[in-house]
């Protein structure tokens, strides 16, 4: 990097005030946003900024003057300048007052601008929509009431994902001319369900069962996203046994995921003297569930 004094065009003995004035004068000339068409201004602006960064700090300047540090103290890189966005379509800030007089008097220009205004697309509008778990799985139609009045019907397709953004063509802001309207972008957030959880295309469910249902096997009425079905728990099931209900998960292309039902044995919550008496008397020799942990 060049000598910071040279970059700012100040003498080595310049005062802080002179340095600041020199920087302001150059920065005003070189700031990329004040030179929207000049790509080279950005590099020169950065040089000037880091030269100023160095010389405006007395300590850094002293160390530079005595040769302790060199001039490469880099300016933190800027992500983007405003000019990088200003050219994009539908800039809300842009003004045509700089050429309105030409457009009003010159037929050639007026025609071009008329066409441009006709084509200009309306801007996109953003919304967020909370959806119940089952509506996201099964599909539904939801209505958003718009702040500016009116409403918007949103079709929730079955199998919608958390955070997905739905684009409703032409439901955004109208065009300022005769162009097409912008789009409405609806971001979906799915409310959690009290007992279903979603894992990709599958849905998981913890299903409480009784001792008897697990040990003896049973036909158990089990909730699924599209209504209860009968689940057959085989004899000798246990807490943690996972049973698959095929095709009862989340709809996807060419079918549906599965519902994974994990059994959970629930002891009675009320004390039961009959059960206590039975368990006290019941002493099988080979029933040691923690054997693997403790050996």
């Amino acid at each position: 990097m060049q000598d910071p004094y040279e970059i700012l065009g100040v003498a080595r003995a310049a005062t802080q005030d002179e340095i600041r004035k020199a920087y302001h004068r150059l920065a005003k000339k070189l700031h990329p946003d004040l030179n929207p068409g000049d790509k080279s201004s950005e590099n020169r602006f950065k040089e000037v900024a880091s030269a100023y960064d160095l010389l405006s700090d007395d300590e850094k300047r002293r160390r530079f003057d005595s040769g302790e540090i060199d001039a490469s103290g880099a300016e933190a890189p800027r992500e983007k300048y405003y000019r990088d966005y200003a050219g994009a379509n539908g800039q809300a800030y842009e003004s045509r007052s700089g050429y309105a007089d030409f457009a009003d008097t010159d037929d050639f220009l007026a025609e071009i601008f008329r066409r441009q205004a006709r084509r200009a697309r309306g801007s996109d509008l953003h919304y967020s929509l909370g959806v119940d778990f089952l509506d996201a799985v099964n599909g539904a139609t939801k209505r958003i009431t718009l702040p500016e009045g009116g409403s918007l019907d949103v079709t929730i397709t079955a199998g919608l994902q958390q955070g997905q953004v739905l684009r409703l063509r032409g439901k955004g802001a109208p065009s300022p001319g005769d162009g097409e309207a912008g789009d409405a972008l609806v971001e979906i957030s799915i409310h959690p369900h009290p007992f279903f959880t979603r894992h990709g295309d599958n849905i998981h469910l913890d299903l409480p069962v009784t001792f008897a249902e697990a040990v003896l096997g049973a036909e158990i009425k089990t909730p699924t996203p599209d209504g209860p079905v009968i689940l057959t728990a085989p004899k000798g099931s246990n807490s943690g046994t996972v049973l698959r209900l095929k095709g009862k998960g989340v709809p996807r292309v060419g079918g549906r995921g599965d519902l994974m039902v994990k059994l959970k044995i629930m002891a009675p919550t009320e004390p039961d003297s009959e059960l206590e008496a039975f368990l006290t008397a019941w002493a099988p020799t080979n029933y040691q569930p923690r054997r693997d942990m403790l050996s």
Binding site: L34, Y82, S95, S97, I112, F113, Q116, H126
Partner: protein, 96 residues
């Protein structure tokens, strides 16, 4: 990409009162779906430009309004010029 008010304040390194003043001055025009302000990346870059003008270039509040007004016209002109050039190119191709 939508940026909400809190995130915008953090990323632009601004305090709430300054932001309100800038919106009041119409230096920034965030959109307002559902009562809440929604900012774009362009709004963020514009906020950084305003900060540069005031903090680094020594422009005072009146000057910022003037600078933004002229800049918005320049961007309008740049787009108009691009449009005119594109039209001329199309027509010269047609007459070839």
């Amino acid at each position: 990409m939508i940026i909400n008010r809190l995130e915008f304040l953090a990323r632009a390194d601004l305090d709430g009162r300054t932001l309100d003043a800038w919106i009041e001055e119409e230096w920034l025009l965030p959109s307002r779906p559902e009562d809440e302000l929604a900012f774009s990346e362009a709004d963020l870059a514009r906020a950084r430009l305003i900060r540069d003008l005031t903090d680094r270039l020594g422009v005072n509040a009146e000057g910022v309004g003037v600078a933004l007004h002229l800049l918005d016209q320049i961007h309008g002109l740049r787009r108009a010029m691009a449009e005119v050039l594109a039209t001329i190119h199309r027509q010269s191709h047609r007459s070839d």
